[in-house]
Symmetry: C2
Subunit: 217 residues, 2 copies
């Protein structure tokens, strides 16, 4: 759908657009100008127009954006329509938080399994899934590999498990361990989310007393 290759910075802003637009919809806002949306989000109107123009625009001069339509367009761009399946590896506190609380369905995902090594957790029902033992993973992957795997287990097994998942056909890794996974298979997408990077970014801005550019969030 994008006309050209879209820069990573624009891609990073799309989910934020969606969150703000959905908040506007909850508040029954029907349309919004790029200026108003920019003010809410702390970015400039021209940045918004430029970002959305990567995908063909959708605003009308003098009217602004229709909130419902823009939600639909941004959702489409982000690929939310396709129903995808997800499993979670690791049912410690972080895994449990994600299994129990994260609204997968809202983002087009269906949670189909969760795995851990701890015997005392096996069989426990959290949200839509019962925790299964890691030694069942290979068999489960063979019968129906999920689209993505969410990695919340300890970092030292991350590489080996990622390899197993990719060999079985998993195409996306959402990685919460603090090891960056680098995958050579061009059909596999990895999203690393190491919490420490975020804390250090906070620390940087607290140390240097400079606020980040509002245009470059």
């Amino acid at each position: 759908m994008p006309k050209n290759k879209v820069s990573h910075n624009v891609v990073l802003r799309l989910p934020r657009y969606l969150r703000y637009l959905e908040e506007l919809r909850v508040r029954n806002v029907v349309r919004i100008s790029s200026g108003e949306l920019g003010q809410l989000m702390g970015i400039t109107a021209s940045q918004i127009r430029q970002d959305l123009s990567c995908f063909g625009g959708f605003g009308q001069q003098g009217y602004g954006y229709n909130v419902d339509m823009l939600i639909k367009e941004v959702s489409d761009i982000l690929g939310i329509r396709h129903e995808r399946t997800a499993i979670v590896i690791g049912a410690g506190n972080l895994g449990r938080a994600i299994i129990g609380k994260f609204p997968f369905q809202q983002y087009g995902f269906r949670l189909t399994g969760a795995y851990d090594l701890a015997e005392n957790l096996i069989g426990e029902q959290i949200g839509p899934v019962a925790i299964r033992h890691m030694n069942q993973l290979a068999t489960d992957l063979q019968s129906a590999p999920p689209d993505i795997a969410v990695l919340t287990m300890s970092s030292n097994s991350a590489d080996a498990i990622a390899e197993q998942l990719i060999a079985a056909g998993v195409r996306g890794l959402w990685n919460f361990t603090n090891v960056d996974l680098t995958v050579s298979n061009p059909n596999v997408v990895v999203e690393n989310l190491p919490f420490s990077d975020s804390l250090l970014t906070l620390n940087y801005y607290m140390t240097h007393g400079t606020n980040r550019d509002s245009t470059d969030k």
Copy 2:
């Protein structure tokens, strides 16, 4: 320390440099060229030289970077030296994961408190802290406000709690709720870390089959 205002994209890469450098140190690597470091990190050598030159460079032509020295420099730039204090608001699964597992000390932070509303959690010891009731927060803030607060409670109280914290002198908010906090006080730094943005970024690249530019991670 930075010579000029450093772009947000460079700041975002600094914690990654640090993680990779620390891994090299563990493996007893003493020096590394920008080319080798770039290959590990999936970015170009010239990107690395350019990023580090924002802070005055540290490499020597023909030698590369001394790993220990570069760790020290990047840590300094990130402000890791300063010992800061942190409290966690919300001791649900996510809060517990962060309190129990996140290596605050490694990043120059000392965890001094954790708060929740659930009566049955009060007094429980997790890692270095015992969970206290939210109704003690105001008093605790008055005697010794922490430098930062980690927000892991439910999103609907995020704005009100953020306001209370800021009024008490907290200068950094590490926000895991899925509401972006926008703070008008220029002395307060907010780092929003909504998990959904990360999943949608993954979804985007899975949908469009384009890998992000390696130069613009």
